[in-house]
Symmetry: C2
């Protein structure tokens, strides 16, 4: 029997600045037969996420190692088990793991793998609102910001996979919610579908001073909680408007990920002192032990239609680079996912 | 009977950049007789502190109102009660309050006033190690940084009133302590008297990259706790060396207080995210309810000689502007205090 072939997306070289499509290429390789304690997975959905840009910097020490140029890229994926030598997993099961992304087949040892039920939610939701972005949103809000009823919550990247859930959970907790996003369509969705009180299209504001003015008008009592996905002028405006005793959850700074030269931070960090502000950076892996608590809070809200989410769906593995690059160009609306294979084999 | 005369230091205009001595002037005014619920205080010692620079910006909203040009400056002071219409206070008592600074006599309503015992410690210590700077140091360390034994603690402004106590309390809690200061004499005192493991003379380092290298060598396992008094390249270096799960107590940014134009923040704030760092700004008034807890921990250590402190003493009210300006030029060693009157009337 001839070896099974597998397609994967490789990085040809490490990008400087915004990655370009021609820095990625698809290669096909033989897939070795699985061994003991392994299973073969067929990818159905794969995720593209901003944090992956950090793994494309070979010289930067981070919380996960850089991508190799010798192996296909990897990341979160929902897959179907094709063949299993691991007890508890059998052909036809669906799983989420972090090895199956950017390729059509993968071999898993069942580490960091979660079984998921295709009947409870659309499979792609396990990469978004019920997956890492969802846990990220929930953890930043409930474990760091801890809003109380009546607080004003500002969310940057509010129409994204993480931000849109932060906004909606904030509303459910009784906050006044202000979200920023990069298009009128996104702002309309935030106000009309997600229930956000004020959506700011940041492209209407030329600099931090202008954004500050708009934010101050939308938050007349100041910003008690800021969920940071963007950095740059968003952080500066938030620090100008932060209320005494304010909290900031630092989740991402997508505005600076592609900078070739480091960009200076905001000039108003001193506001953190005078206003007694807590700022806490975090990555989702810190809160993996809260995944059940998250799922038990968010899944019923989703089932009851109290939380809405958007997806930008890219069809086919070869579209993965475009989906990824789109993250930094504001092309995507909600969670960006790539359909690699059909739901049912 | 003719009215009692009082001397006070006034600000003639609001400084741009580093304040100059000729922006201050001494004026003499009549002191009105005290009314019901008031007492007359004779200032013995007055404090100069970096936060006062913030009160010299009339356009900046802060946690305390800006100084008026129409009244003498004010601040922390140790005073003797001369005459009292307040129950519980009588002539000859000594008190610490925030109205008596920058003048030789003041009228107090007994708000934010604490009685102090001149027999338990030198009176000036109530403005330093046993006063606001002491509580600031203790609160930042115990309420925010919460070091555990074996942690590496980095303290900027380490030879100052706040920093020197942070360093010594950190050593007593089992930390490896690295302090930065601006002269060889200060570094020698830190290593030889205060017990700091490594003192860095920041003037030996031209930029954040050089300071980072020195800090990384002194902290081979990374910085778990950073007590920030300085800002600028100190914050950038600390963020380069911060360990995963690190904590930062943001107490002051003296390096930027006199900037005419806002100075950009460090370009590496994104490290807060990847390393899961907590940064908490604070002002001492937030922790006034812990003043007794602080005093009960620190006073015995002081009495037992386990904590050392330095003072820069300026003789006479007319030296107050020089003492204040010296804060920003690194002229002072330890707590800067001004002797306004004799200890005993």
């Amino acid at each position: 029997m001839s070896a099974r072939r597998s397609k994967g997306i490789y990085l040809k070289n490490y990008p400087q600045g915004l990655p370009a499509a021609d820095q990625f290429e698809q290669r096909e390789t033989d897939l070795a037969p699985i061994g003991d304690g392994e299973m073969l997975l067929r990818t159905v959905w794969m995720s593209v996420d901003p944090y992956m840009r950090g793994r494309m910097r070979p010289d930067v020490q981070s919380y996960i190692p850089p991508f190799s140029l010798e192996e296909p890229l990897s990341g979160g994926a929902v897959s179907e088990v094709v063949e299993s030598n691991i007890a508890g997993y059998q052909s036809g099961d669906y799983v989420v793991d972090f090895a199956g992304g950017w390729k059509d087949y993968s071999v898993s040892k069942g580490e960091q793998t979660q079984k998921v039920d295709p009947n409870l939610a659309p499979l792609s939701a396990y990469l978004g609102v019920l997956g890492m972005p969802g846990l990220t949103a929930w953890a930043g809000l409930t474990q760091i910001l801890k809003p109380i009823e009546g607080d004003t919550l500002f969310v940057s990247g509010a129409a994204g996979a993480v931000g849109s859930l932060v906004c909606q959970l904030g509303k459910l907790k009784g906050c006044r919610v202000i979200g920023s996003a990069g298009s009128k369509a996104k702002c309309d969705w935030l106000e009309q579908e997600a229930g956000v009180d004020v959506a700011l299209n940041y492209k209407d504001y030329a600099n931090a001073a202008e954004l500050t003015k708009a934010l101050a008008e939308a938050a007349p009592n100041g910003v008690n909680c800021y969920f940071e996905n963007v950095g740059g002028m968003h952080l500066e405006a938030a620090l100008n408007c932060i209320a005494p005793g304010g909290r900031i959850a630092l989740c991402g700074m997508i505005a600076v990920y592609n900078n070739k030269e480091p960009e200076p931070g905001p000039p108003n960090l001193v506001n953190l002192i005078g206003r007694g502000v807590l700022a806490r950076g975090f990555i989702v892996s810190e809160y993996m032990d809260k995944a059940m608590e998250f799922a038990m809070e968010v899944a019923p809200l989703l089932g009851a239609g109290k939380i809405k989410f958007q997806e930008s769906v890219y069809e086919g593995l070869d579209k993965a680079p475009e989906a990824f690059i789109g993250l930094f160009k504001g092309d995507n609306f909600g969670k960006a996912v790539v359909r690699v294979g059909s739901d049912r084999a």
